[in-house]
């Protein structure tokens, strides 16, 4: 008989739950960016309405992890697995909030605004979505070499964001009448940039899990 087979099974279940959570969070960002481009206010509202379900997923993961800490009194790597489950679920929840923020920006922009949404936003979103899938792969395989790549990818997102905001700044000068609209685009880019930061946080957690030490990938 494998010792602690039940506990190992429960840790695996938790892993599966986190993967599923990440997948719905990723889906929320994908849809939010689509709505932004398609000026689809109604669908944007469904993303906002759906967020409560994602909050519940975070709670479920937290409750399960806390219960396992209480019941199993884990040590060393087992304990770190549960600690990072708590942290990652909280990062994912914040990421879902950023998708909601983009949906709100879509609603604020409305259906009739005259602006074309710049391709930079979808390019940033794509990069951020690649980061989530990489972060979850690193989490699944407890692979720090994958986690390390998140730092480079995040640098790229930061760079894209900085260049984009510069561009928008110039536009506000030439089109001051659209400043409110341009601000919403700038905010959306900012939400994606923050979303990517949370992906690097997940990478830091993988380092903590494997090495037992704290790393900062956001520098």
């Amino acid at each position: 008989m494998t010792i602690r087979a039940n506990f190992s099974g429960e840790l695996n279940e938790l892993k599966v739950q986190i993967k599923e959570f990440a997948s719905v969070v990723d889906d929320a960002l994908k849809k939010a960016v689509e709505c932004l481009y398609q000026k689809d206010v109604e669908r944007a509202q469904t993303i906002i309405d759906n967020d409560v379900k994602l909050d519940e997923k975070e709670l479920e993961i937290n409750e399960k992890a806390i219960l396992l800490i209480a019941k199993q009194q884990p040590l060393a790597k087992d304990l770190r697995r549960l600690i990072i489950a708590l942290r990652i679920s909280s990062d994912l929840e914040r990421m879902a909030d950023h998708a909601v923020n983009i949906a709100k920006a879509t609603i604020r922009l409305g259906q009739d605004h005259p602006l074309t949404i710049h391709t930079e936003i979808s390019a940033m979103a794509e990069q951020a979505r690649d980061m989530v899938s990489l972060a979850i792969k690193a989490f699944e395989h407890e692979d720090i070499s994958l986690a390390r790549k998140l730092a480079e990818m995040d640098d790229k997102v930061d760079k894209m964001y900085n260049q984009f905001t510069q561009k928008l700044l110039t536009e506000t000068a030439s089109n001051p009448q659209y400043i409110q609209h341009i601000m919403q685009m700038s905010f959306s880019a900012r939400f994606i940039e923050r979303y990517a930061d949370h992906c690097t946080n997940i990478g830091e957690n993988i380092f903590y899990l494997v090495k037992g030490e704290a790393y900062d990938l956001n520098v």
Partner: protein, 269 residues
């Protein structure tokens, strides 16, 4: 990417004073007849520190702790090699007085083993043997020892009662008081809470931590959380060898050896 743990360690310039050791064990091997039970044990136990010894049954941890006061020699076929220095003298030296060693290195066992005498006489026993006769002096020793063992308030009105009238947890603290009465330097504890209920266990753990101020303690325990809670350093024994010996915080959070990780997370043992 920055390693924050390393950064913090580099930044903390706290000078660590060289700790005084009570025991320095070098290349200790031990055999029961032909069977070797301990292999090349090397470890130091610090003064006013709690050293925990963990490991699966039969790994040699009880044998090791009983070697520290040479009680293991009560088994006739025991042979040892290597040295154990207690305050700079090798305890295996033929000139070394084993009686003195056992006065200075007290022991508390798995099951409470009070003498079939009154609570008072249990504690006064050692002092009497060491020549203290005056009632007044004995009273002082008994009260002080019972206070230090955190049981005085529970027994002060019933000192003449038989020790067996106490609960298991109280009996164990009485045994600690009996051990303290002869003013030892080191206290060896061999699974001292394995026969106690959870509350008595926690009381005893708290007591052990308080005792650290005056004594050095070596504790063998099967309870991983107990070792993590009470000790400063932990040694993990396996098949008569030390697999890992390090600061308790490190050993239970980020052990170096895979076997330690597997044992403390319950993957074998």
């Amino acid at each position: 990417m920055v390693n924050l743990t390393q950064l913090r360690e580099n930044n903390s310039n706290i000078e660590v004073a060289t700790k005084e050791n009570v025991f320095e064990v070098s290349n200790l091997n031990l055999w029961y007849g032909e069977d070797q039970a301990l292999y090349d044990i090397n470890m130091n136990m610090g003064k006013n520190e709690i050293t925990a010894i963990i490991g699966p049954s039969g790994c040699g941890k009880s044998t090791f702790i009983k070697t520290l006061n040479r009680m293991v020699e009560l088994v006739p076929s025991v042979k040892t090699s290597g040295t154990i220095k207690y305050k700079d003298s090798n305890i295996f030296d033929p000139k070394f007085a084993v009686e003195d060693l056992r006065t200075q290195v007290g022991m508390v066992f798995q099951k409470p083993n009070p003498f079939p005498k009154s609570i008072y006489d249990n504690v006064a026993y050692g002092a009497k043997i060491h020549g203290i006769k005056k009632k007044k002096d004995l009273d002082i020793i008994v009260e002080k020892s019972l206070r230090d063992a955190a049981i005085w308030d529970e027994v002060k009105d019933r000192l003449k009662e038989n020790a067996y009238s106490l609960s298991g947890g109280q009996q164990q603290r009485l045994c600690i008081a009996r051990c303290l009465a002869i003013e030892p330097d080191v206290i060896l504890m061999d699974e001292p809470t394995s026969a106690l209920d959870p509350i008595s266990t926690l009381k005893l753990e708290e007591l052990v931590q308080n005792l650290k101020e005056k004594y050095s303690i070596v504790i063998v325990t099967h309870n991983m959380q107990q070792a993590a809670r009470v000790s400063d350093k932990t040694a993990f024994f396996l098949n008569g060898e030390i697999v890992e010996f390090s600061n308790t915080d490190v050993l239970f959070s980020n052990p170096e050896d895979k076997r330690t990780e597997d044992y403390i997370t319950g993957r074998f043992g």
